[in-house]
């Protein structure tokens, strides 16, 4: 009983490291885990997949490698959808000086994946423009809603065809966007309170918002979804897995006439899965078995601690 209450901390650290590492060596057939999808994640995915081809999405990327376990999967899920749907996007950051570079590295990683699969790469200027960091995101979002054509007036990007820097408003990404209402959607991938800053200024202004947040932020940011301020949410690693599940299995879709794996009663249409070349099951699913192992260990540790306490109480040793 005493032992139950006094397990060595180093042993627990070791157990945790082993618990998350061992599943990496399991065959992939064991690590593809059937997962139910939440309505909030379904709505995010459906909204993104329903955007007309060629739409421009404004994406705020406020994550660094410190939250790669969650945010990279979310950002890359968006990039895959953008590639599949031919969406154009404006990339900016409002929270961390390292975030713009991390996002560009992530695009480079996916581009090499696309290239290997024989797919067209996401090209700067034609498919996306990177606007960098805004140290005061509040005033930037305020500009986006009040005067979109002036909000990024000082920003330029390199046009490879012209061989020179040009105003981002001349790029194929932004040339047809006159006001923020012309944007297909605004998406934020964040590990910080930059979400609040954006939602507080963009919600209710006629542009749909999608949020991809970390597990720590998911419960509080779900309020925005429940009150209709944002159109959908993907929360944490589980959110990534749900996005990947929909990318690989479709929504309300069944190839063989059987029960669709992902059923979205709020959506009357059908969405087919993404092609295998886009690797729909990627980062999220690779980590999901490890998350199971870690959570089981956590539950076991809490139960063990409490069983020890109860036994001690029974013996009359506890105060």
């Amino acid at each position: 009983m005493e032992k139950l209450l006094n397990i060595n901390r180093y042993l627990m650290y070791l157990l945790l490291a082993l618990a998350v590492s061992i599943p990496f060596f399991l065959p992939s057939s064991c690590t593809i885990i059937p997962t139910l999808t939440k309505t909030s994640t379904q709505d995010l995915y459906i909204n993104l997949m329903q955007l007309p081809e060629g739409s421009t999405v404004l994406i705020e990327s406020d994550w660094t490698v410190s939250t790669r376990g969650e945010s990279a999967g979310q950002f890359e899920a968006f990039l895959k959808i953008a590639r599949f749907r031919n969406l154009k996007f404006v990339l900016l950051s409002g929270g961390d000086a390292q975030a713009p570079q991390v996002a560009l590295n992530s695009i480079a990683r996916l581009n090499s994946q696309f290239k290997a699969a024989g797919l067209p790469e996401l090209k700067p200027w034609d498919d996306y423009v990177a606007l960098g960091l805004f140290t005061d995101p509040a005033s930037m979002w305020q500009s986006v809603t009040t005067n979109f054509r002036q909000a990024f007036a000082s920003k330029t990007a390199f046009d490879p065809a012209a061989g020179q820097q040009r105003s981002v408003y001349e790029s194929p990404v932004l040339k047809n966007i006159k006001t923020s209402k012309d944007l297909g959607m605004v998406v934020i991938v964040t590990a910080s309170a930059s979400l609040d800053i954006m939602v507080q200024r963009m919600s209710g202004k006629g542009t749909k918002i999608g949020q991809m947040v970390t597990g720590v932020m998911a419960p509080e940011s779900l309020i925005y979804y429940n009150s209709g301020q944002v159109a959908g949410q993907s929360g944490g690693l589980r959110g990534v897995v749900e996005m990947e599940t929909m990318m690989s299995r479709g929504v309300n879709y069944s190839a063989d006439g059987k029960e669709p794996f992902v059923k979205a009663p709020q959506f009357s249409g059908k969405i087919a899965p993404l092609p295998e070349s886009l690797k729909p099951l990627d980062r999220g699913m690779s980590y999901f078995a490890s998350l199971h192992a870690a959570l089981i260990l956590m539950i076991a540790a809490v139960v063990l601690g409490n069983v020890g306490l109860l036994m001690q109480k029974k013996k009359g040793g506890a105060k």
Partner: protein, 297 residues
């Protein structure tokens, strides 16, 4: 651009603009020098005026009627429309000002680190060698990153890794290979502490802790896709015979955790948020109107 600033403009990159920049700078520094002699009783009003005018802009842009569908070629009708247009056009200029000032103030933190470690190094205080390492790393990163940026500006082909030179590899090594790996390692180590802390402290000692523990366990189970799937699809489907209209579907783990999320967790956090919101609003008004007692003395 801000129409007010248009009165103070010159052709881009011309000798005239640089001359005027210098003159403005000199005037600005003279003004700052004069300000430093301001009598004590004037200091608070000076800060108050600066703060109030800054806040007033956002109050006005929210409350002032904005002309609907007024194009650049249209003439505003009367002062209300003209002011509305001025406020709207001013937004990007205001944004540039706040971005710049915020960036300069963020530099304060950097300056503070630099000052602390330079002092430590100069005075050869305890662990000064670590300060030396810190400063070396900092200056190496600055030198490498700026050189890479400068080279990229002059040779856009460097975006492609096939054309990289020493500084591109060096920047990638320092940023992606070292800084990002360290950043990730630093944050991920918290997981070990959470596990051990939960084991040692997450105990059923009161009603509150029991409720907290119970909910946490349900949520952790529901986050495990496999557990949720089989406790929802497997067990419940066996009971209901796969009938989606069966009453027992309400007790699937997925449904229970969603119910908690929507009806208990959601309003609880919402209530907390409202409290924080009212606090932020009152703090915002106090700051804008300089009602904070400690301001400007």
């Amino acid at each position: 651009m801000l129409s007010f600033f248009a009165q103070f403009s010159a052709p881009g990159y011309s000798p005239e603009v640089f001359r005027n920049v210098w003159i403005t700078l000199i005037v600005g520094f003279i003004f700052v020098a004069a300000l430093s002699f301001a009598p004590t009783k004037l200091r608070r009003p000076i800060v108050w005026v600066a703060t109030f005018l800054a806040g007033l802009y956002y109050i006005l842009i929210w409350l002032w009627p904005t002309p609907v569908n007024l194009t650049d070629s249209d003439q505003p009708l009367g002062g209300v429309e003209a002011t509305g247009r001025w406020l709207t056009n001013a937004q990007s200029g205001v944004s540039s000002i706040t971005q710049t000032l915020t960036a300069m103030l963020l530099g304060l933190g950097v300056f503070s680190v630099l000052r602390l470690h330079t002092n430590k190094l100069m005075k050869k205080q305890k662990d000064w060698a670590f300060s030396l390492v810190l400063l070396l790393s900092m200056f190496t990163m600055i030198a490498v990153a700026y050189t890479d940026y400068y080279q990229n500006q002059n040779n856009p082909k460097l975006v492609d890794q096939a054309n990289w030179g020493f500084f591109q590899y060096a920047k990638d090594f320092l940023f992606d290979g070292m800084l990002q790996a360290m950043d990730a390692a630093m944050f991920s180590s918290i997981a070990f502490f959470i596990l051990f802390a939960a084991y040692r402290a997450f105990r059923i000692r009161s009603v509150e802790s029991t409720v907290l523990l119970g909910t946490a366990l349900i949520v952790m189970l529901s986050l495990m896709g496999l557990a949720e799937y089989y406790l929802s699809k497997g067990v419940i489907d066996r009971i209901t015979g796969g009938n989606p209209g069966h009453f027992m579907n309400n007790f699937a783990l997925a449904e229970v955790s969603r119910w908690i999320e929507t009806n208990v967790q959601g309003p609880g956090i919402m209530a907390l948020g409202w409290g924080i919101g009212i606090g932020a609003l009152s703090m915002g008004l106090r700051l804008w109107l300089s009602l904070e007692k400690s301001g400007g003395n």
